[in-house]
Symmetry: C2
Subunit: 339 residues, 2 copies
């Protein structure tokens, strides 16, 4: 009874309620109140019970919550939503709609606990919107949460933020670094890392064989070397080697046509050379449907692309569909991995 039933193929997904200053608790409560969450996965909330209460109040819903000591203590056939109450945050006096170091501390701490659980029964971690700046202020000194996850999971090797919209996924050769440094970091090892990761993740998502388009770095792809030669000296030779090794990929494609082609259905995944190249495109195409994944780590991490939405916090207006997309992506990535 204490173990997940062997006939229940739904993955076990830990839900983190997000930064309490934002809409995370509200969208979490709304998602948990819908039948979708239960159909997709065995969802366990990890966090402070008072934050979930806050979310229920914001959302105007009442959930049947069942506190459990640990994953092993969950009876998945019992009614209600299991909650592992960390008891690590007091919502009294909380100021909503503003960055809080204390909330950043909490978010980092909660994710760390969940990462520990990922080795023993938790298939994926899905988290409601957090605030990167708050996490840093709260004592977790990383450039972004992906770096934190990589460090806390003790990962070695290439991994990167992956962005999922219904039309296609993106993978990053470089990410949260200055554009000047990004240009320097566009090197064969990173390009190969990103393309191989795209190949693996897309395969896991059932895209076989995955169709991958790789962005050029320079305008017009360098126009034959006239506007920069990284396409000729670095990107093309790397893609040639990958293709020869059986990792099919197309490029370098000038980035102002690459995303039009991806949108038209030519690619399952796009490998971008720098952050804004892909983010301009994916946010324009499908911001509200976007999901952010930390790709390449053993644990699966997903979160909606939407942020803490401080302008509408506590008003009951926040839309849970982004978090639902994130949960679906987590299930998709776990499910295909397991099969």
């Amino acid at each position: 009874m204490n173990q997940p039933s062997s006939t229940d193929r739904r993955p076990v997904v830990g839900l983190m309620l997000g930064d309490p200053t934002g809409v995370g608790p509200e969208v979490s409560a709304k998602l948990l109140a819908s039948p979708v969450a239960r159909e997709l996965a065995r969802v366990v909330v990890v966090g402070d019970a008072r934050v979930l209460d806050l979310g229920m109040a914001d959302a105007g819903v009442r959930l049947e919550v069942r506190k459990v000591k640990s994953l092993a203590h969950i009876d998945w056939s019992a009614p209600g939503i299991p909650l592992i109450d960390l008891g690590n945050f007091d919502t009294a006096g909380l100021e909503r709609g503003a960055t809080s170091a204390e909330c950043g501390r909490l978010v980092g701490e909660t994710l760390k606990k969940m990462i520990e659980m990922a080795g023993s029964g938790l298939d994926a971690i899905c988290f409601a919107p957090l605030n990167k700046g708050a996490i840093k202020k709260g004592g977790w000194d990383y450039l972004d949460e992906h770096q934190m996850f990589g460090d806390l999971t003790g990962h070695r090797g290439f991994f990167c933020e992956m962005n999922v919209i219904p039309e296609f996924c993106t993978f990053r050769v470089t990410s949260h670094t200055s554009l000047r440094k990004a240009v320097d970091l566009v090197q064969p090892e990173r390009i190969e890392g990103a393309v191989r990761l795209a190949h693996d993740m897309l395969t896991r998502m059932g895209k076989t064989p995955p169709r991958i388009g790789v962005a050029a770095l320079n305008p017009h792809g360098g126009e034959g070397g006239l506007f920069g030669d990284e396409e000729i000296t670095i990107i093309k030779p790397t893609l040639d080697r990958l293709n020869a090794a059986g990792i099919a990929c197309e490029g370098p494609v000038p980035s102002d046509t690459l995303f039009i082609k991806a949108l038209a259905g030519r690619y399952d995944g796009v490998v971008m050379m720098y952050h804004d190249q892909g983010q301009i495109a994916t946010k324009l195409i499908g911001f509200s449907k976007g999901v952010t994944v930390t790709a390449g780590l053993k644990a699966v991490f997903t979160t909606p692309a939407q942020g803490t939405a401080y302008d509408i916090v506590g008003q009951g207006k926040a839309n849970p569909s982004g978090l639902e997309h994130a949960l679906r992506a987590a299930v998709n990535l776990v499910g295909s991995r397991a099969s």
Copy 2:
């Protein structure tokens, strides 16, 4: 009779038929066959009569063409389409659908003649798709046609490619240069040049006062200096000076949210730091409606964003709406300037 009637306020626009290897002649013939061209402007074709014949054959239309010696010889009340026949290209033996140095030579030569006319009666130059590579091969050694126009018009000072879609316009701090060099070129003088030009062009288009958004260079706008400091040391101080001087502008705005805001109607114009920043966005939003303008020169130059479309050349399938948008933009820019 030889002079434009003083009561006829339609501007005089010279139409160049584009590179004969592509769909330029076809879309030109189609546009000239519609009543729209005549309603918008007094259009005179400048080029070889044989290329216009080719366009009519491609388009399956028959135009009444009236050869004239010069602008001064045009009777705008007479029927038919005036053509200044340069007699500078023989279409016999022309290979369609492939880059041709000879066609590049022709295109450059024709545009040069039109630039000479721009000083004496031609209000604007609207050109059908050309091939940048062909122009270079044809002996016009410029990075792009904008550089050619700047040189041939003897322009001094800042000017740049401007991209027009129905939703907003973009202006460029840097353009056809490697991304590495673009980062170095993001300096106060160029930013000021681009913002002032955006202000002038948008004002000319009737946007008063123009609402201008300026892109950041780095991801997340540098995240407070964490991912690059050009926003803090260069862009923001320049925008502060411009705002103090009465040139209202907002920024730096991270480029993955800037275009979402522009699309939502917040800006009339966007100033981008490098080529693909704006081109990824404008091509995704409105490629088929896009118009390219050379902004900042005394003469008005417009052309559709679409290219020579070699894959459908000679099939009668080419859509003239891009060229119509380019003609409208020319009329818009000339008309407001005159008023």
